[in-house]
């Protein structure tokens, strides 16, 4: 009889881990082709479109880098939280609150301050906004054992409604002809872009620097060690006397704060005013979950996986238009890839063999 024999794999090499990743992505793409086929789109055409729309053209590359900025910022923050097994699904809301805080600073102090003061102030405010929102689920989890997946998600909805409330109500711009937008940020609060692109380089540099910092924090410091122990072996962490409250609180302030930075970048670099939640963030907070996962929760790798998923977002936009597919197509991509990454993990950790046996 043909049987499957499963045993634990003792050693996992970097090469093996990389090849598994590539294999997961390729098989995931095949599964996505199937879904395209079922919904009546030619998968080869769709993938060609995605590629030319993202990495395969100058315009595509510019847009891919632009969309990678928030994904890298958020993904690195999520990687830190997930390393502690704190499931922060609230980056979307943290981004929005960061955008709200940053915009408030820009609108109210921007006229009187030069850009080299106002821009750092806005990012600081954004970090505080996102960080405060990140702190809430950490406190709720440790004090009242509230499941963080639910609390972070509920805060997403609450922030989205709050932002909408602001732009249709008290913050509605006087110069916007009744549209639900705030006024434009003053000149000094608007981020410069690389000419001919939408790449707001200040946020990009900030992103890369903070990714390097988080990588250092997580793998080279005592604090990072504590984070990893809490994630990998909470009992050991307890015996070692690591404070869960202090560590998870800091982790979530960082994680939320990073999303807050992304929010400021989107407003000050791209939109220049606040508008509906769905236009400030096109699901970056959710896509970044897989960005972090694909990067194996290593903030440094987030740069690569962030670019990869930014390409999918940009290419996804391209096929939405040319194949008339809905915005949710990107979710299909993300969901399918995540499923295949999970499966890949299994084959990485286990040795699965088909063998003949006489029983």
């Amino acid at each position: 009889m043909l049987r499957l024999k499963v045993s634990d794999r003792q050693e996992i090499t970097t090469l093996h881990s990389f090849l598994t990743l590539v294999f997961s992505i390729v098989t995931g793409m095949l599964a996505i082709s199937l879904i395209f086929l079922i919904s009546g789109a030619n998968p080869l055409y769709a993938f060609a479109k995605i590629f030319t729309g993202s990495f395969g053209s100058i315009y595509g590359i510019k847009e891919t880098i632009t969309k990678a900025i928030p994904l890298i910022l958020i993904g690195a923050g999520l990687a830190v939280a997930y390393k502690a097994k704190f499931w922060n699904i609230g980056a979307e809301g943290q981004l929005l609150l960061g955008a709200i805080f940053g915009t408030w600073v820009g609108l109210n102090l921007g006229e009187s301050l030069p850009f080299y003061i106002i821009v750092p102030l806005m990012f600081l405010a954004g970090f505080i906004g996102g960080g405060l929102l990140g702190a809430i689920p950490a406190i709720l989890k440790i004090r009242y054992s509230v499941n963080e997946v639910i609390s972070t998600l509920m805060l997403n909805y609450i922030c989205a409604e709050f932002l909408t409330f602001l732009i249709v109500g008290p913050w509605k711009g006087k110069t916007k002809f009744g549209f639900p937008y705030t006024d434009d940020l003053p000149e000094s609060a608007i981020l410069g872009v690389i000419s001919g692109t939408r790449i707001h380089y200040f946020t990009l540099i900030l992103g890369i620097l903070s990714v390097l910092f988080l990588g250092f924090l997580l793998f080279k410091t005592r604090f990072g060690y504590e984070v990893r122990v809490i994630g990998e072996n909470p009992n050991a962490a307890k015996y070692a006397g690591i404070s869960f409250f202090r560590t998870l609180l800091i982790v979530m302030i960082i994680s939320g704060g990073m999303a807050g930075l992304a929010g400021v970048g989107e407003v000050a670099g791209i939109h220049h005013y606040l508008s509906y939640p769905a236009s400030i963030s096109s699901g970056y907070g959710f896509t970044a979950i897989i960005v972090a996962w694909l990067a194996k929760l290593n903030p440094i790798y987030v740069i690569i996986s962030g670019l990869f998923f930014a390409g999918i977002l940009v290419g996804g936009d391209a096929i939405q238009i040319s194949l008339n597919l809905p915005a949710a197509t990107v979710f299909v991509f993300n969901g399918t890839l995540l499923v295949f990454l999970i499966m890949g993990d299994y084959f990485l950790k286990h040795r699965v063999k088909l063998q003949w046996s006489r029983t």
Binding site: Y144, V146, V149, I150, M154, V168, P326, F331
Partner: protein
């Protein structure tokens, strides 16, 4: 005044029904030890398939059947990942949500903005509906309401009073000991995840062919996540789920009720989500030993060497 109270209570039950259906399914699933965070996506699949089938055939009952089937089918993904592959249930649940939201968006695109000409009509129970007040509140509802109440009772009976229920509960408490009793733990978990998915599919159908009669992307609006919270509120008990679901149904109705008083609709829309947080904190203030959460909830179970 009486008229208003009766109408509010009636609508509370209407708004609570999809939450109840979803919660029964999630209670079943979590009792077997599997945390399913995919409810939002599965509900969305149920909503879109029920809509499309009802639209194409003109039969809401057929729509409901297909929605249940679709919910069960897509839940196999989570069952496979969390039982067979022993993967992290949070991550695979999120993957299921993304898949469900994505595929339903893809399938439903051509139907946006076209309302159904038929929907699941209310089914007044002859005789009972004529009871003053009570009749209009409880017995002038859509079939979804009656089904949800009956299913809540059945689920409670099975879990608490049958040997199957004991198998499910002990799988969630101590899978290793359960296995030594000759129970196929993996099979129990698979069944609970898949049947739970069927309930979510049903909840989705409730939204698209009864609660409203149209399909829009994101129409589940976080109800799937509220269901996950309600499961905790219900202390993993289907009869307590009834209370939780209609409490939240009331909050949904309350939004519209106090809107005329000049409060921003956006602030009111926060209510169900805020209430979810409040409820979870209130439960967290209790002694955690009395919560009775399934001991091995969310823990991958690896079969020992034989």
């Amino acid at each position: 005044m009486e008229e208003i109270i009766v109408s509010v209570l009636q609508r509370t039950l209407v708004a609570g029904t999809p939450l109840l259906l979803g919660t029964i399914g999630e209670v079943l699933c979590e009792r077997s030890g599997i945390l399913n965070l995919g409810v939002e996506g599965v509900m969305s699949m149920g909503a879109v398939t029920a809509f499309i089938v009802t639209f194409a055939t003109g039969s809401p009952w057929l729509g409901l059947a297909v929605a249940i089937l679709a919910g069960m089918l897509i839940s196999i993904v989570h069952a496979f990942a969390s039982v067979t592959l022993q993967s992290n249930q949070v991550v695979s649940g999120l993957a299921l949500t993304m898949l469900g939201l994505g595929i339903s968006g893809l399938l439903g695109k051509p139907y946006i903005g076209t309302p159904l000409s038929v929907k699941m009509n209310t089914l007044p129970i002859p005789g009972l509906v004529d009871i003053p007040y009570i009749g209009r509140i409880f017995f002038d509802q859509s079939p979804f309401f009656y089904m949800a109440m009956v299913l809540a009772f059945i689920a409670w009976f099975i879990l608490v009073h049958t040997s199957l229920g004991i198998k499910i509960r002990s799988t969630g408490e101590n899978p290793r000991a359960t296995e030594t009793q000759g129970v196929n733990v993996s099979l129990v978990k698979y069944l609970c995840v898949i049947i739970g998915g069927g309930f979510s599919g049903m909840a989705g159908a409730n939204l698209s062919i009864s609660y409203s009669k149209s399909w829009i992307e994101g129409m589940t609006a976080g109800r799937g996540w509220i269901v996950v919270a309600l499961t905790i509120f219900a202390l993993w008990n289907p009869t307590r789920a009834v209370i939780g679901a209609f409490l939240f149904g009331g909050i949904f109705v309350l939004q519209y009720l106090i809107q005329p008083f000049g409060i921003s609709p956006n602030l009111l829309a926060m209510l169900p989500y805020l209430a979810t947080l409040v409820v979870l904190v209130a439960i967290g203030m209790r002694d955690s030993n009395k919560l009775n959460a399934p001991a091995m909830l969310g823990e991958p179970y690896k079969r020992g060497e034989r």
